[in-house]
Structures are given as C-alpha cells and as structure tokens.
C-alpha cells in the first residue's frame, strides 16, 4: 500500500489538492448543480489525457450529441478535440448512439463493447443521473452502480461520472452514490452581483489524504482552473453567506 498509482486530471490546481491526481482504476463522482462545470471537467479530463499524458479516453454522454460536444470542447480552446476523435484516441458515444434503439438494453451492449478494449485508460460517463434511469428501484441502482464500477476497474479504466445535484449546499443531500464510488468531488456555484463564484470541494478520496478545504475555481479558455490560494478569492458572497 506504500505507493498508489495516480492518474493526473491535468486540471490546473486540481491535481495538487488531490495530492497528485485520482487513484488509478477508481471511479470518482463529479457532483454539482446544472452549469457548475461538471461536463467541462469531464471534457478536460479526457482531452488532457491525450494531449498531455498520451492516454486514450472514452466519453459517454446521454446528455449531448457529438456535435454539441465538439462545439463545447472547441469553445474552451480544445482545438485538437476533433482530430483526436477522428484518429480514435478519443472515442465519443453520444446520446444519439446510446439511445438509438430506444431501449436501454442496446445502450448497455454498446457500453460494454466500448469497455472491452484494452487501449483506453480514461472514461467519462455524463451523467450517472441518466444511467440510473435504466433501473427500477434504488436498490437496483446501487447494486448495478457497484457492478458497473467493478467492470470499469477490471477493464483498466479510471473513471469520472458526473452526478446532477439538486441543492446548492451539498452536505444536506449526499446521495448513496457517494458511498459507492471511490471519490467524490463537488463543484459548487453561488451567484454574485457580477456573475457567479465557483468552488470545488473534494469531499472524499479513498486511499488518499486530500485537502478538504473548498477552493475557488475559474472557467476560462482551457477549461477549469482551481486556485489553491483561497485568499486570492472571496469565499463569501456579498450578502455574507457562503452558499446562498
């Protein structure tokens, strides 16, 4: 247990607060409300994999089609996204592919086939929320989330799953999913007069000592940047409350 292999996200600042990266072959939830930057973080993780670390990635999305995804990638400056998709270093399974047959069984077939390929090391599932609609009861959702993460690990993948979170402050609404995955990173946003302040909170990372403070985040060209120095930002909104 002395040396744990890590996978770098390549997101500026995030790997530092994770003490180097996410644990290799683990599954980490990226939770947050809509617009918090979950999908961008996913794009960045897959893109950086190829661009910086020569690791191929799979992007599964029930939320968007491949053109939307390409546009989103290019709009934050991932200029080589399409090239990587075309040469197979990034594989995209979009909602048109996954939901084509109008039955979830077919989507699962596509999913499992995509995983059965040793070449790929990174995977993003956007979103777990949609994936869970495949199942009929909460118990089934939990059982099969566990089996699915087993399957991912066994196929050598290090996974981020986005997870829609309804509330602004996460502590009141931690779903069971959080206990079933290896790590949980929250993306938070709070409105201000001038726009929105964004934060990241690494709530859990199995096998790792992590910094559990809340750090400011910016979304600009190049995607998310985590600012390690919290004092560079005001954590507190104008009205004096941290999370509206």
């Amino acid at each position: 247990m002395s040396s744990i292999e890590l996978t770098k996200t390549g997101v500026e600042g995030l790997d530092d607060i994770l003490n180097g990266g996410v644990v290799k072959h683990s599954t980490t939830l990226i939770s947050g409300n809509p617009g918090a930057g979950k999908s961008i973080l996913g794009l960045q993780y897959i893109y950086n994999g190829v661009e910086l670390f020569d690791e191929k990635g799979i992007f599964l999305t029930f939320e968007e089609n491949r053109d939307d995804l390409r546009q989103a990638a290019e709009s934050i400056g991932f200029d080589n996204w399409q090239r990587y998709v075309e040469d197979g270093r990034i594989r995209v399974y979009d909602k048109q592919v996954l939901l084509r047959e109008n039955d979830f069984g077919a989507a699962i077939d596509i999913l499992l086939e995509a995983l059965d390929n040793d070449d790929y090391e990174r995977l993003v599932l956007d979103s777990l929320t949609m994936f869970q609609l495949f199942f009929e009861s909460e118990r089934e959702q939990r059982t099969y989330l566990l089996k699915f993460t087993d399957i991912l690990r066994e196929n050598g993948l290090t996974t981020l799953m986005t997870n829609e979170q309804g509330t602004v402050f996460p502590e009141t609404d931690i779903g069971l999913e959080s206990f079933l995955t290896d790590g949980n990173i929250f993306l938070l946003q709070t409105p201000t007069d001038s726009g929105v302040n964004r934060y990241v909170w690494v709530a859990k990372m199995r096998k790792q000592n992590i910094d559990s403070d809340i750090f400011p985040v910016e979304i600009t060209q190049g995607g998310l940047t985590v600012h390690e120095n919290a004092s560079a930002f005001s954590m507190i909104g104008e009205d004096g409350s941290a999370f509206g």
Binding site: L112, E140, F148
Partner: protein
Amino acid sequence: MESEELLQTLGNKYSAAILEATNEPRSAQELSDELGIPIATCYRRIDELTEHGLLELHDNVLSDDRRRIKVYRRNVDAVRVEFDETLTVDIAERSEVTDKLDEAWETLFGSPATSTG
C-alpha cells in the same frame, strides 16, 4: 384461453418452486435434487414453463464429467393477475439491462453457476 393456461401452468405442482430456484441458472438434475422433484416431472415442468416464456434456456455448461448440460433461468420477476372484466395475466420480465450487466460482471468475476463452463 392463454391466460388460463398460464395460470394452470403456474399452478402445477413444483412450478412455483422451480421459478423461485432459477434466479440463478440451474440444470434439471440440480432442480430435481434440490427440490425433491421426480426427474421426469422436472423435465415436464421445465418444458411447460419454457413454452410459456416463464423460464428460458440460459446456457449449455460443461459438467465435471465433460458433458454438456442445459441450465435454465427464470425469465420473469413477477406475475400479476387481474380479474377485472377479462382475466389477464401480466408477466414482469427480467430487466434486460440488469441481465446484461450481470452477465458482463459474471464474465469478469465468475459465478458459481457458470464456473464449470
């Protein structure tokens, strides 16, 4: 009428026990041994249940003495009977999605039922 035939099949001795036991794939011999069903009756029940789509042939596995044996698994999770106007019997089929994930998981991590294959 089909619904009545289905009820008849379900009501036959041992049918419910066989469905209960076949959550995991089972051979006719295993069912016969475990549930104390005479082997000829066991085969007959399996045929009836399979005919009505309640049970399905899951796989041909290799036995210890290298024979192919058929294993069956139930195809339904629930049966609902309605007596309103006309008798109807609804069969809640096992979810395809969970089936496929189960299979993929068992392929990677093994399961008692298929370890002989």
